[in-house]
């Protein structure tokens, strides 16, 4: 397959919840080595679009084509996917084992170090602040070394250094050929690393390509 071929393609995707239309005829593709920021007001359908891309929600019409193995996709949402009664290490080990990741302990330790949580490995996730829990969620995501990354408001609750860390990690993933879709409410901050800004307005999607500074 062409290494520049899109990892995911949506064509004419529409979705309604009951009689309420959320998305109408959305078409987009995500290519390797790009970061696409997804913007739009509250309730505009960004999270629904992200869940459709992840395969968690079925569209009413249109097609979603993923040119990637399910193991190559990483999804990070506002929910942290953590078990508060388990330690940070136990949480990561569970997700690694369930996903069939090789050497789960080593990968979990690497991910904890990369997110600055190595010293908190044996603490229960339930006592973590929102920002720390989200960093642990980020560790869960990077353990799988995904090629298609879907981020649904990942910066929620993160302090300034953690946001920088998140951008740094995502920029690194992009340089290694990952395609990243990122819902952001902080366009000023996050669009600096974007290759495209996708805006949902009146249920439809507009795409603004950005040139990346060298």
């Amino acid at each position: 397959m062409d290494s520049r071929a899109p990892l995911i393609v949506l064509e004419g995707v529409s979705k309604s919840y009951g009689a309420l239309p959320i998305l109408k005829g959305v078409t987009l593709s995500l290519r390797p080595g790009t970061i696409s920021i997804l913007a739009g007001g509250n309730g505009s359908g960004k999270s629904t679009l992200m869940r459709i891309m992840a395969g968690l929600v079925r569209p009413d019409s249109g097609t979603v084509t993923r040119n990637i193995d399910p193991a190559g996709m990483g999804y990070m949402a506002h929910d942290t996917f953590l078990y508060p009664a388990l330690t940070a290490m136990e949480n990561l080990l569970f997700w690694a084992r369930a996903a069939g990741i090789l050497s789960p302990e080593a990968r979990a330790r690497e991910a904890l170090s990369a997110t600055g949580l190595a010293r908190r490995a044996e603490e229960r996730a339930g006592i973590f602040s929102r920002g720390m829990a989200q960093r642990l969620n980020l560790a869960r995501l990077i353990m799988g070394d995904p090629r298609l990354i879907l981020l649904d408001e990942p910066s929620t609750g993160l302090d300034v250094p953690s946001r920088s860390l998140l951008r740094e990690i995502m920029t690194d993933f992009r340089s290694r050929g990952a395609a990243i879709a990122w819902i952001s409410h902080d366009l000023e901050e996050d669009s600096g690393i974007a290759d495209a800004v996708l805006t949902i307005r009146r249920k439809t999607l507009s795409i603004e390509e950005r040139s990346r500074p060298c």
Partner: protein, 227 residues
């Protein structure tokens, strides 16, 4: 699929056994049932073996509802359900993992209920303990596979405890019937006439039907679609 299911089972057992008081609630409810029935007896009296076996399965059925509510509720707390659905394994591995964890927890609870039935309800071991053991194993398996399927159906919905009981208890009737008849063989020196193999066959058929239903229906029951 098996690796993923084992990982889910291991995580659930860690969560429930080492960090959660929920299993104690299930055990205490079962023990309370047995103990309260023992109060209806005069000193030195024993409950009939069929009634004692019914108490044992009643305690197990209540325990099953609490266990599967707990197992699925842990996935709703921080949205882990979406993470499970995105694992690179068939979604049935969640059903299988929860079934395995539920089976082990039900068996563990029964290790407490069985002595309680002997002590509080005045029962003694009889010759038919092998068919009784087969009935308990098949009954537990049926409770695990059906509980895992319907626990997923009730997960994330308001009033899930009552919803699970309402769905599950009517469906469990054939399994409970077989379980009671077989378990009573293990404590009844003068058992009711009838071929135990027919009851074992009924329990095995129940297990086969709900295992097939779990494998076929679980992807439609456990989804991320909120519409």
């Amino acid at each position: 699929m098996l690796k993923c299911a084992l990982a889910i089972c291991r995580k659930d057992l860690t969560l429930i056994l080492s960090r959660n008081a929920g299993i104690m609630q299930a055990l205490l409810l079962g023990l309370l049932l047995v103990f309260l029935f023992s109060l209806s007896l005069n000193t030195g009296d024993a409950l009939s073996p069929q009634a004692a076996a019914s108490m044992f399965w009643l305690a197990t059925a209540f325990c099953q509802v609490l266990i599967f509510n707990m197992l699925y509720a842990s996935e709703e707390l921080c949205g882990a359900r979406s993470g499970l659905l995105l694992l690179p394994a068939p979604v049935q591995s969640v059903w299988l993992g929860k079934s395995l964890a539920g089976l082990l927890l039900i068996m563990a609870a029964q290790c407490v209920f069985i002595p309680a039935v002997f002590v509080f309800l005045g029962q003694h071991l009889a010759d038919g303990f092998l068919p009784a053991l087969a009935g308990i194993v098949l009954g537990d398996l049926g409770m695990a596979v059906s509980g895992s399927l319907f626990g997923a159906l009730a997960a994330g919905r308001s009033g899930r405890e009552s919803l699970l009981s309402i769905i599950l208890f009517p469906l469990l009737v054939p399994l409970l019937l077989a379980g009671v008849r077989l378990a009573s063989l293990g404590i009844d020196p003068d058992p009711l006439p009838g071929d135990p193999l027919r009851w074992i066959g009924l329990a095995a058929a129940f297990d086969a039907v709900f295992t097939a239903a779990g494998l076929l229906l679980f992807p439609f029951v456990y989804t991320g679609d909120e519409s």
